[in-house]
Symmetry: D2
């Protein structure tokens, strides 16, 4: 059994890691860690864990992690992992970081979008961006993985095959993304106060979301030239789920590529990957159809009138967009089948 | 007092007309009409009307309407008004049609998108498209108004000033629209079954929605040349509310127009109109901020990186998107202030 | 026009007072007051008021209120009104208090349940408990009204006629109450964080809720002897609405009173009162059927097997449970029809 | 591997059986069966099963079931199992029935409450009522289990220990139950239409619910004399979850039993059973804390003023209230650990 520690166990990402890792056949959770609640039983703040996790929360202590764990998951706010990950790596631990601190190769870009001091460049360059279905080969066997953000996961899995194939014009990409409220985390704010968020739909951080450079970095890599996108995020009155609705002009104009063509392209691109499901022609995925699971489902609509393709991609933001993908990355890191411990069915309805 | 009859009183549009007209100082509802439930007290199917409306539903009878009413609101499914409106007009009644049957000038276009036989062209040409803030002068004093659809209302109010001013390139317009579930009406279906629609977000009728030609007809009028758009609709787990998130390239490229420019343009365009509220710089409207009211709120984000503007427009689909706008049209039809009976505050939270 | 000031305008009770008073034909809101946000435009924190209320928030200043208003509504947290109301009354203002500070006649009881210092007994004895349908005659023309709590309103309107008539045994009363989340106010807390409250149902403050003595005080008055009840409150994933499901043994046992009997008793008790609607036999009210309105709807089920009656009473907690009832009390205070400005239809769906 | 067939695979109970059985280490689903959709791929109606279950639905055919399965789960509407179960048993199959057809020992009682013809008494008497934590010993190794209803599961697990111990007076029991909307199944109706059920709370079938005799049958068994209860059901705007809030007078009056006493009694009663979690003093369970899991969580509040205890019991209606408990019963039927395949953590948030 591989021993894992989870830093940030009292956030939604951390508690979802506990849910999923508890069911993983080759892993033992040996330390649940919180800087704010150290010493308290974890079930106190999360009564759903009553009689399942009876351990008290550990504090953030590199020596303790070294003694208790082989792999550390960092489910901390941005800015924390930047300092902690290097210490853990230096101590010989493997690290999977779910924060955004190691996703951007450029420290300057990080500072621009995150408004924090970036991580040390020596460690930035060591982190492998764990978008397994796109960069799977790079992820296998490494010691330090930066887990992609929730929006970038849904968006990039929906765009990369078409951009890589040169089927859509990257300069025309517009991304209209929508997220359930859990994406905002467990911290209190007016925006996610129940009476304000319920029966409400709002747009936020238009063209200013810190996930934009992460999306553009990968699209630029894949396109072989700089890609700049329009990116809008919306808050939807539901707990879990992200939908990314993406628009782009088809190279060659109306008629150049059909829905069947796109489906074929994507099925081939994702052949052998269990967690991307390409939907049949005429069908678009809904967020509930991946609720609680590690799937990313993708569908297409080609408009012969405008020559544009509309790509719809959905994930559960806390699973494929966070904890589930992190475990998928653990599996690859350890050389296991990437689906180990993750092959459960979405909870429907 | 003007006497009004409401055909389709057992649908959500009809029952919202009752709610709003009941509070109108110059109107008396003299007949609530339903083809399916004639004879039953209306409060039986809608207990919220207990002791408020004690009348029984009338059947669909032109003679009866003629004897009881001056103005008839048609809140019927598409296809019904096409046949009924001409009879009512011929009987000398004024008509406000909330269905889509008289919104498209072209009968052929109607048939293509609605898959129904269109209305008689003689009557099609008589109907005035009641988008008051855009075509207000045309609406005043007429006898037959076709009330705009919910999506077109939010979308056109958000796009028309910029298209008319030539500030955005119509060929680049992409509309990502989202609606609460009441937009699907009171008819039962799997899609709007609670357990399926709750905690779920789905896209539907991508590029196939019957509101597309209505949007394009007006944009083409305003632009002075044919406009074709990309239009996606989503179902959001809330009862009321539409948000239209619209994207377009700014003519002149990055830097040509600022958010302040757009705000100024729209404030001028809508000067004197009470129901369009242009939000200040840096603020985008949320659907809850217009819940239950006749307002359409609009905000802007200009992206200097891509040279695109993102326009966010919200309405309550049952009020500004249906019953409220219909009453606004009644007001104009009768020569009253357009806000008569409609100046209530959104219900928040 | 009567000039009114609203203290606590940035809470949900205060902002609902604004919504309803704005539509009142005999009232002008001359001062919106907040201790925490004085100086800021009210529409800044509540964008739904954009272009409707352009005034800035006043601070809490008795002299200013005296100069601007005839009547002051106190929509403040418990503990604030206890100090403020006496000053306002001494200054010659009329006061309607929506907090709980003046609902209990016994200062000792207040301290036990509210854990605050009680108001001065001289003023406690001046406050008239404004449950209009029960104590209407006492309310007319007074200067100082204590507006009932949300749970007590739904509960007492559902119980008083039966207790007064001696039809149910007060010792057997069990009240299972459920509230939408707005009842918890606008203050942030984990319990009403969207991701925690959505898709969740919880019980809280069982037998410890501060509304218990308020319910028991009135039931004891009506019964003519001390009544003690079992009272449970639940948090339901919706914004507005309270349902009180009440159980009691029928005096005389099974067969002594039928549903028709109860309906008759209540219809007679509430004859001439517009805001209590007694439902017909076999029908029970749902919270949505009073959403946004000042109605309290009541239904009955008599069980011949157990000899118990189940009474279901629903209100909108922010209207009949707070702002609406306060305005009803204003109407009575001023000698107007109690329904003035309040006769709007519930928003359905 | 034990081979199982699921009849009623297109209902919510059936599809939840698929979700859970797919993860069971000792079971293989060999036939998914639907009378209405035979021949269609199951993923067509349930796209969340895409690429997970690629089989087509079988028709209802006893011979086919005999050839493909060892155990048959019946997740059919009431009335269907009454006829089908005997045939399956006669064919030598083991049967777990999730409908109510075999829960009542008395055929006459069944007819009274279900308004259907009852099952053959010979088979009624063979069925073992599978409330494992109460009747665990009877369930082990049998061939025919009747799975308890959702409301009875939450209610009985909350009441049986106290009734059995003689701590509460059965004649005083009042049950106020609340359910999420999925409990109403996948069939369409106005009541569970999204726009009607959202932001709404309603009571239904007061004292007429068909789960009442099931609750009373077991309570009477345990009490050793006939028990009659008051039972109300409510529809709560959430997809999953049942809360049963139960009231009873404590034998011996105020002071006779403390919360700690009840906790101790229940912990002892449920010692060794993994799926009932008794909450510590001062804590009451919320439905979200068992969402998606097989747990039943129970908490207590003792009121020294009235001498009553309030017991709060929560389950996921589709898991512990249906599919999960059925699998727990399969485990006991097969002689396995009752928790096999069911030890997953609730999905929170």
């Amino acid at each position: 059994m591989v021993r894992v520690a989870i830093v940030g166990s009292t956030g939604y990402g951390g508690v979802e890691l506990i849910r999923l890792l508890q069911a993983h056949p080759q892993v033992e959770i040996t330390s649940v860690i919180s800087s704010s609640s150290a010493g308290a039983p974890i079930a106190e703040g999360f009564p759903h864990l009553t009689e399942i996790r009876t351990d008290a929360l550990d504090g953030v202590d590199v020596g303790l992690m070294k003694s208790k764990a082989d792999v550390v998951f960092l489910a901390t706010p941005a800015g924390v992992a930047a300092k902690l990950a290097p210490q853990l790596l230096d101590a010989g631990l493997k690290v999977i970081d779910l924060s955004g601190d190691f996703r951007l190769r450029s420290a300057a870009e990080y500072e621009t979008w995150y408004k924090h001091a970036p991580a040390d460049e020596a460690y930035l360059s060591k982190a492998v961006f764990g978008l397994a279905e796109v960069f799977g080969d790079r992820v296998r066997g490494v010691d330090f993985i930066s887990n992609p953000g929730c929006y970038p996961t849904a968006t990039l899995l929906g765009l990369v095959p078409a951009v890589k194939a040169g089927w859509i014009d990257p300069a025309t990409i517009i991304i209209d993304a929508k997220s359930g409220v859990s994406g905002a985390g467990r911290g209190l704010s007016q925006t996610v106060h129940y009476a304000e968020a319920n029966e409400n739909l709002s747009a936020y951080k238009v063209n200013r979301h810190q996930h934009i450079p992460e999306i553009e970095q990968t699209l630029s890599d894949v396109a072989g030239r700089p890609v700049v996108t329009t990116f809008t995020t919306h808050l939807v009155p539901m707990t879990r789920g992200i939908m990314s609705t993406m628009y782009a002009s088809i190279v060659g104009g109306p008629g150049a590529r059909s829905e069947a063509d796109f489906i074929g392209l994507y099925k081939e691109f994702y052949a052998g990957r269990k967690f991307v499901r390409v939907r049949p022609q005429g069908k678009l995925p809904a967020t509930k159809e991946v609720w609680g699971s590690n799937y990313c489902d993708i569908g297409f609509a080609v408009d012969s009138r405008t020559g544009r393709v509309t790509i719809v991609s959905v994930i559960d933001n806390l699973v494929k967009g966070a904890a589930g993908q992190a475990i998928q990355n653990l599996n690859l890191m350890m050389g296991w089948d990437e689906a180990t411990g993750l092959q459960f069915i979405p909870a429907y309805p």
